[in-house]
Symmetry: C2
Subunit: 394 residues, 2 copies
C-alpha cells in the first residue's frame, strides 16, 4: 500500500506531499481507497463532499452499533507521508490481520476517510468530520474560499461531487478509533512503540491583520513610516516568548503581505496565529497576552491591528473508561496530544472515541522529514487489530 | 493625458496601479505613448525590449548631440499614479509649451520611456536603462525569472517584442533630463514646488534565505523547534533599528514562506532587504550589521542564513556643473534622493544628466496615496520646458 501511495502528490524538489482536498492528488487517493476496499470485498460509500466509508458487516448483526476506524488522506502543504495515511493504511491492514486470525465481527466494522482534515485549502481543520458531526453546517461552509478565491461549493462540485447527495451518517457508529503517527516525542521518551490518547489540547487559528501605510522604501524617512511589518515581527517574537514562558504553543507559520514589493513599505501584513494550550482558560490567556503586546506595538508603529478568530476548538477528553479498557490490551501508556484530529470532532459529537498513536522517532511532523519505523508501524497494525477485535467482537 | 492614463492597470479595490512590464497594462501604456507622440507629429521608435523614444529633430542639426527627457510608465505593485508617468506626461507637455512659446530646437530633442524601472516583475530595478547603457547584458538578463517562473526572454517575446532587433542607442543622447515626483518631503520642508537632484544614495536589494525545519505547530515543543520565522522577525526589527541609529534606510517589504501553512512551523523564510545609505561605505556597514545580527540569532534559533546581493547600485553624483547651470534658471534647490532612477543609470554611463523633482505634499510614494498638486505639476512642466530650452536651444 505504501508503494502505491508514495508518488501521489509528492513534490520532486522537497520530497514532501501536496495533497490538498478536492484537487487531483486527493481525487487519486479517493480512487485508491475505493480499490483497496474493493480488493477486500468491501464496498465504499462516498458522501456528497467526499468522505468515504466501507463497512464489513456480519449478516446477523448488520444493524448493531458499529465500530468505525480510519483517518484522512489529505496533507498539509509540503507534509509528510504518515500524517493521515498511516491511519487509513493501518485500518486496511488491521482488517487483513483480523481475517488472518479468523476473526468474525459480531457488529459492523467500518473503515473511513474524512476530507480536509488539515484545513490546508479552506482554513478549517477537520472540515469533513465537522460537517458529518454537525459541528459546522454546509450553508456556512459552502461560502469558504481558498487562497485563489474559489468557493468550497465550487471546489467540491469541480471534484465531481454533489453535496445535495447528503453526508455520511454517524447513526451506525457506536465507537470510533483513529490510529495516527505521533507528532511529538512522548512515546520516544517512554521507549514504547504504541500509545493511546487521553485528550486533545484546546487550540485555534487567529488571523492578525496589521494595517499600515504603503510608502517608498528609499525616500521615506524611518521616522515617517507606518510599517506593519515591524508590528508583525514583534508580534511573532512575542508569541514565541509567551508560549515558552507558559509552557504552551504559539506559531506564526503563514503570512501574506500587500503589496509584497521589495522597494515598498507594506500597506498590510496578514499573519495567522496557531495557538494551543493545556486548558481553555490558558489558551484564552495566551492569545490575549499576544494580542495585548501586538496592540501596544501597533500604537508605537502607527499601525492598526484587527484579530479574527477563524476557528477555536475547546479541549477534548476522550472517553476515559474506553481508554482504560483498551490500554489494558497492551499495557499502552495514555498520553495527551496537542494536535487536532477528526477523532476529537467525533468525540465532541458524543461518539465514544479512542486514538492509537505510533511512535515517531524524531517527533517531526507536518514536514517532509516526518517518519515512522516499519517495525513500529507493524506494531501499530497489531495494536489496532487487537483494539478492533475487542470492540467489534464483543 | 491624465484622464487617458487614470484607468490603465488600476485596482478597483485599492485604487493603486499594477503596471508590470511586458503585461497588458504596460502594453496599453506603450500604445498610448506612441499615439501621444504621433498627435505631436513625432514618430516613436520602440527597441527590442520595449524602450521607446520619439525625436523632435531640426533638419539642420539632426546629427548634433541631442537632449533626451522622459521617465518610465511601469509601476510598483499597487503603486501611485505619478511615479514614472509624471515624467513622461510632463515631457510631452513641455514640448507643447515650447511650441506655444515658438521655440525651435537647435539640436534634437527626444522624449523617452524606459521599461521595468521599478524591477517589480524581474527584481532588477532600471532594467531597461541598464540594458541600454550596457550596465547589464541581455545574455545575463534573459535568464531572469518572474514570480511565476517565466523567463524575461519569454515575457518580452510574449509582449510581441524581438530583442534581436537591438536596443535604443545612446549615441544621440548628449544630455538626459528626468522629471519625477519627489518621493520624500524635502521640497515640502523648503516650501518650493520644484527642485533639482544632486545625487542618488547608494542602494541595493539583498535576498535573505532563513532555513529551518518544518514541523507541527501544535505538537512540537517550543524548545524542539528550528523556526526560521523567528530569525526573520528579529532581523526585520534589527534592520529597522540599525537604519534609525545610522540615519539610513532599511526595509523588509517582501517575504515568501515555505510551506506557508497555519499549522506548520516553516521550513524556509525568504525575505528581501532594501537598504540605502548616504555613502557606499555606510551602506556596506549597514548591511553587514544587519547580517551579523541575523547570523547571531540564527545560531540561537538553530536555523541557517544565506544572504545574496541581488542588485547593488553605488552612489550617483549628477553632473554638478549642469545642476548649477540649470538651478540658476529658477532658483531651484539642489537636493539628494534616496530613490533609484533611470537617470542614475545614464549618469553612471557617462551621459551628463539632471533630474527635476516636483513637490509631493505628503512624501508618500510607492502607494495608492501618492499625490502631487496640479499647480505643482504645472510648475514642473514650466521648469522642464525652461531646462529643455536652455539645453536644446544652445
Amino acid at each position: 500500500m505504501w508503494r502505491d501511495l508514495a508518488p501521489v502528490g509528492r513534490s520532486a524538489s522537497s520530497g514532501g506531499y501536496f495533497r490538498q482536498p478536492w484537487a487531483s492528488a486527493e481525487t487519486e487517493l479517493r480512487s485508491w481507497f475505493a480499490e483497496a476496499c474493493a480488493a477486500r470485498g468491501l464496498t465504499v460509500e462516498t458522501d456528497g463532499i467526499g468522505n468515504q466509508v466501507a463497512w464489513w458487516s456480519p449478516d446477523a448483526a448488520s444493524d448493531a452499533p458499529g465500530v468505525l476506524t480510519g483517518s484522512h488522506l489529505d496533507s498539509v502543504l509540503d507534509g509528510g507521508a504518515y500524517d493521515g495515511p498511516l491511519g487509513v493504511v493501518s485500518a486496511l491492514a488491521a482488517v487483513d490481520r483480523l481475517r488472518d486470525r479468523g476473526f468474525e465481527p459480531s457488529r459492523p466494522l467500518g473503515i473511513g476517510v474524512f476530507v480536509e482534515e488539515e484545513g490546508s485549502r479552506f482554513g478549517r481543520a477537520c472540515l469533513g468530520s465537522r460537517l458529518v458531526a454537525g459541528a459546522t453546517t454546509w450553508d456556512a461552509a459552502r461560502e469558504l474560499r481558498d487562497r485563489d478565491g474559489v468557493f468550497l461549493a465550487d471546489a467540491v462540485e469541480a471534484a465531481g461531487l454533489d453535496p445535495s447527495a447528503g453526508l455520511l451518517s454517524l447513526d451506525r457508529v457506536g465507537t470510533f478509533v483513529e490510529l495516527h503517527v505521533e507528532q511529538g516525542r512522548d512515546l520516544v521518551d517512554r521507549d514504547v512503540a504504541v500509545g493511546l490518547a487521553s485528550e486533545i489540547w484546546p487550540h485555534g487559528r487567529w488571523r492578525f491583520d496589521f494595517a499600515g501605510q504603503a510608502n517608498h522604501a528609499g525616500s521615506t524617512r524611518m521616522e515617517d513610516r507606518r510599517d506593519p511589518m515591524l508590528t508583525y515581527a514583534m508580534t511573532a517574537l512575542a508569541a514565541n516568548k509567551q508560549a515558552r514562558l507558559a509552557g504552551q504553543r504559539a506559531t506564526f507559520g503563514r503570512i501574506a503581505v500587500e503589496p509584497n514589493g521589495t522597494n515598498a513599505v507594506p500597506s498590510l501584513v496578514t499573519a495567522w496565529l496557531d495557538a494551543r494550550a493545556s486548558s481553555d482558560d490558558a489558551l484564552a490567556e495566551l492569545v490575549a497576552a499576544i494580542e495585548r503586546q501586538a496592540d501596544d506595538r501597533a500604537g508605537r508603529d502607527g499601525t492598526s491591528l484587527t484579530v479574527t478568530a477563524e476557528s477555536v476548538s475547546g479541549s477534548v477528553a476522550f472517553d476515559p473508561d474506553l481508554a482504560t479498557r483498551l490500554a489494558g490490551l497492551g499495557d499502552w501508556p495514555v498520553i495527551p496530544t496537542q494536535a487536532g484530529h477528526d477523532a476529537g470532532i467525533l468525540s465532541d459529537a458524543g461518539v465514544p472515541t479512542a486514538m492509537v498513536f505510533v511512535r515517531n522517532p524524531t517527533g517531526v511532523s507536518h514536514s517532509p522529514d516526518e517518519h515512522a519505523e516499519t517495525a513500529d508501524c507493524l506494531a501499530g497494525v497489531e495494536a489496532l487489530a487487537d483494539v478492533l477485535a475487542e470492540l467489534a467482537g464483543a
